[in-house]
Symmetry: C2
Subunit: 413 residues, 2 copies
C-alpha cells in the first residue's frame, strides 16, 4: 500500500491528565520500540513544547519493566502543555522549528495524544509537513475524560473517570443515608460543555445507590425547579443526592457557577466558592436540611487506583493502533473506536478518521438519552456507559501504595 | 471465671461512618450467631435510638452471604445516630426505657460500636444496668477514622481512611505536576482536634508523591509562615502540594476555617467557602500561582473500594473480641488494640480497657512526631501508620461496581 518509511518517532501528551493516558503512551512506545523501521523512540517533554524546546527523552534507554508500569501510572508522565499553535498561514515560526527538530532527529512518525485541541495541533503539523514535502506520518491518539470527541464511540480516559464517579457516588450515597436525620448532598463533576461524566453517576443506580437528580450541560438549568425537585425528594425519602456537571447553565447560557444566588453567609455577602457549595446553600435556604457540597475536583481524572480494565486496555490499543497504522502508510488521521456486540458481548474495534473531522468539535449526550424532566439519564445512557467501566486491572503496589513508573527521562542528544 | 449468661444481644452503631464499621458489626453478629448462649442477635436501627424506639432488626433472619458482604459495605448499615444521653443521675427516662426494652427481649449482651461519645453512652448504660441489678454485659467496640481514642494503639476505620488519603494525595501530586506551568494545591482533610488523618498524607512520600507541607491541629498555624513556605517551595520546584487538617487554628485557638483573610473575589467580598479554598486564595494572592483547593469531604470516610485489609480484619477482630469477652464474663470495657512486632513484623493484639478511661477524651499526635517547623510529620509517624494501611481486600463487585450487603432488616416482634 505504501513504501516502508524508516526513521525516528516522537510521542507527545497534551491537555489534562487521565488515569490511562500513559497506557496510550505505552501502547505507542512499546509498539514502536519493537518495530525495525522505527529507529528511535522519543518522548516529548510537555507535549509540543518539548519539540519546540528540543527536549526529547530517549525512551529506548528506559528499563522495560518501568515502561510497563506506565499502564498503572496516572497523569501525563512525559508532561503536558496547553499550548495553542498559531495558524501556519499567518505565522509559521513554530512549524518551521518543528520541521527543524524533525530533520535533526530524522523524525518520520509523530504521535500526539490528547483531546480536540490536540487533534487540531496534530492536524496543523500534518498539513505543514505535507506542504513542506517532508515525509512524516502524523497520527492522533484520542484522550479525554470528557468523552466529547467526535467520530469515536468513546474516548480513552472516560471509562476510568466514569467508574470513579459511579463508585464514589455510591459511597457518598451510603454515607449520606446513615443518620436518622437526612441530608441533601450535591456532587459537582467535571464537564464544561458535555455531561458524559456527570451522567456516569447514574451507573451507581445499578448497585442501588444512584443519585436522585442529575443535571447536565445539555439542558437548561432552572434553579427553582431544581430546589423544588430536591425538596420533594428530601421530604419523601429523607435524603437527596444530586449530581451536577460543572457546566450547567441557565436558559440564557450563563453558567450557574458564575451566577449569584440569594443565599448569603452570616455577613450578608453572597456565598461564593464552587458550584456544589452554591447549590447546597441554595437548597439549604429553602429546606433547612443538612447539606453537603462535594466537588470531585482533580480526583476524578487521576484515580488510577480505580481504573477500568476495559479503558486501560483500550487506551493501550489506541496507542498501538496509531503506530501500526502509521507504519502501514496512514497519516493525518486519528485513531477512533467503534462499538460492536459480538455474540451479545461488547467489543471495541478501531478505525481511522481524518484529523480535521474531530478537531475543535464537541460531542454531547444525545437528547433522547436525557429524561424529559432534564434531571436524569435514560437506560440507553447506562447501556452505553456500562461496558466502558468493566474490569479491575491488577493493582501494582509497594507498601500497599501505588507503584508508579520511575522513568530516567534521559534527554536525546 | 464467671457464670454462663444466656440471653439475647444487641449491636448498635453510632457516630460517623467509616469504610469498615460494618466489618466490626459483622464480627459481632457472626460470632454471636454462632454461640449457643446468645439466643438472639438484634441490630439496633440508628444506634441507641433504635433501642429507645423499639426498632430492632432480627439478624438471625438474614441470609448468611449477605451478612458476610457487610465486610465490604461502607457506612453504618444498621444506621447511626448522634444522640447524646443525659446523665442518669439527672434524668433516667432514657435508661429506664432501655432497661424496659432489654427486659422485653431478654437482652443480656449489649455491644456499641463508635467513637468517644459512644463509649460514654456505653459506659452510662453499663453503670445503670449494674445499679439496677439487671445482669447485662456491655462492651464497646472502637470506631473512628479520626484515630483519637485513648488507650488503644489505633482505631478501626483509621487505616482505611489513611490509605485513601495517601493514595489520593499521590494521585493529586501526579496530576499537579503535569504541566510546564506549576500549581499549588491545598488538600483539606478531616480531623477537628487531632491530625492523624492529615498526617497520613505523608505516607504518599513512600511512592515519591508526598505533600510538601502538612499542617495539623496539634500545632499553631501561622498564615504568613504558611504562605512563605508554600511560595518558597513553589519558586524552587515549580509546584507545591499542601495537606491541612480541617481543625488547624491560630495561636489564639480560633479555627483558620472560620477566620477571614485579606483575599477577596473580584467584587470585594471576602472569599468564603471551605478551608482549602480559603488557603488556596490566600496563597494565590501572594504568589499569583495557579491554585486548587481540594476538600476530601465525605469521600475519605466511606471509600470502601480502597480499604486496608489490615484495618478490615482488625475491625472484624474488634467485634469478635467484644462478643467473646462478654461471654467470658467481661463488662464495662472497650476492646482496644496493642501493637506488637513478632519477628519484626507488625501484629495487632487485643486487650480490654475500662470504658470510662476512654470516654470523652481525645488522643493527639505526639509532639515528637511532628517536625520542628510544624509543617510535616517525622519518620516515627510513618512507621506508626504504615502497617495500618497494608493489604488489598478482595473487591466484591457486580458489573464492576461495588456489591454491597442487601439486608432484609426484619423488625423483631
Amino acid at each position: 500500500m505504501s513504501t516502508m518509511l524508516t526513521g525516528a518517532c516522537i510521542i507527545g501528551q497534551s491537555g489534562g491528565p487521565t488515569a490511562v493516558i500513559n497506557a496510550s503512551a505505552y501502547g505507542v512506545i512499546r509498539t514502536a520500540l519493537d518495530l525495525e523501521c522505527i529507529t528511535k523512540v522519543y518522548g516529548a517533554a510537555n507535549g509540543i513544547k518539548g519539540v519546540l524546546d528540543d527536549k526529547l527523552y530517549d525512551m529506548g534507554l528506559e528499563d522495560a519493566e518501568e515502561l510497563r508500569l506506565l499502564m498503572n501510572t496516572p497523569s501525563s508522565e512525559l508532561g503536558s502543555c496547553r499550548y495553542k499553535m498559531s495558524d501556519p498561514e499567518k505565522d509559521s515560526t513554530d512549524y518551521d522549528r518543528i520541521l527543524e527538530i524533525f530533520k535533526k532527529y530524522d523524525v518520520r512518525y509523530f504521535f500526539y495524544n490528547g483531546g480536540n485541541d490536540s487533534m487540531d495541533t496534530c492536524d496543523k503539523i500534518s498539513r505543514f509537513m505535507e506542504k513542506s514535502g517532508y515525509e512524516c506520518r502524523v497520527i492522533g491518539v484520542p484522550k479525554t475524560i470528557d468523552n466529547d470527541l467526535y467520530g469515536t464511540d468513546h474516548c480513552p480516559g472516560y471509562g476510568s473517570a466514569a467508574k470513579y464517579i459511579a463508585t464514589t457516588c455510591a459511597e457518598v450515597y451510603k454515607d449520606a443515608h446513615v443518620y436518622d436525620v437526612g441530608m441533601i448532598a450535591v456532587i459537582e463533576i467535571m464537564g464544561r460543555h458535555a455531561g458524559w461524566l456527570a451522567g456516569s453517576s447514574a451507573l451507581a443506580s445499578l448497585c442501588g445507590c444512584g443519585p436522585d437528580l442529575i443535571y447536565l450541560p445539555e439542558t437548561d438549568f432552572d434553579m427553582d425547579r431544581f430546589i423544588s425537585a430536591a425538596e420533594g425528594i428530601y421530604r419523601e425519602r429523607g435524603n437527596c443526592i444530586v449530581a451536577v456537571s460543572e457546566g450547567i447553565h441557565y436558559a440564557d447560557g450563563s453558567f450557574v457557577s458564575e451566577a449569584k444566588t440569594s443565599a448569603t453567609d452570616g455577613f450578608g455577602h453572597a456565598q461564593l466558592g464552587g458550584l456544589a457549595a452554591l447549590l447546597a446553600a441554595a437548597v439549604k435556604e429553602r429546606t433547612g436540611a443538612k447539606v453537603r457540597g462535594i466537588e470531585l475536583s482533580l480526583l476524578q481524572r487521576c484515580a488510577a487506583h480505580l481504573a477500568s480494565k476495559a479503558d486501560m486496555d483500550e487506551a493501550f490499543l489506541a496507542g498501538k493502533t496509531a503506530v501500526l497504522s502509521a507504519v502501514s502508510g496512514e497519516t493525518g488521521k486519528m485513531v477512533a473506536f467503534e462499538r460492536a456486540y459480538e455474540q451479545g458481548r461488547y467489543a471495541c474495534l478501531t478505525k481511522l478518521i481524518p484529523l480535521d473531522s474531530v478537531a475543535n468539535l464537541e460531542k454531547k449526550i444525545p437528547a433522547q438519552w436525557i429524561t424529559p424532566d432534564g434531571a436524569n439519564v435514560t437506560q440507553a445512557f447506562i447501556d452505553y456507559a456500562l461496558p466502558l467501566i468493566q474490569g479491575e486491572p491488577e493493582r501494582i503496589t509497594e507498601n500497599s501504595l501505588p507503584r508508579y513508573a520511575r522513568l530516567k527521562k534521559i534527554l536525546a542528544k
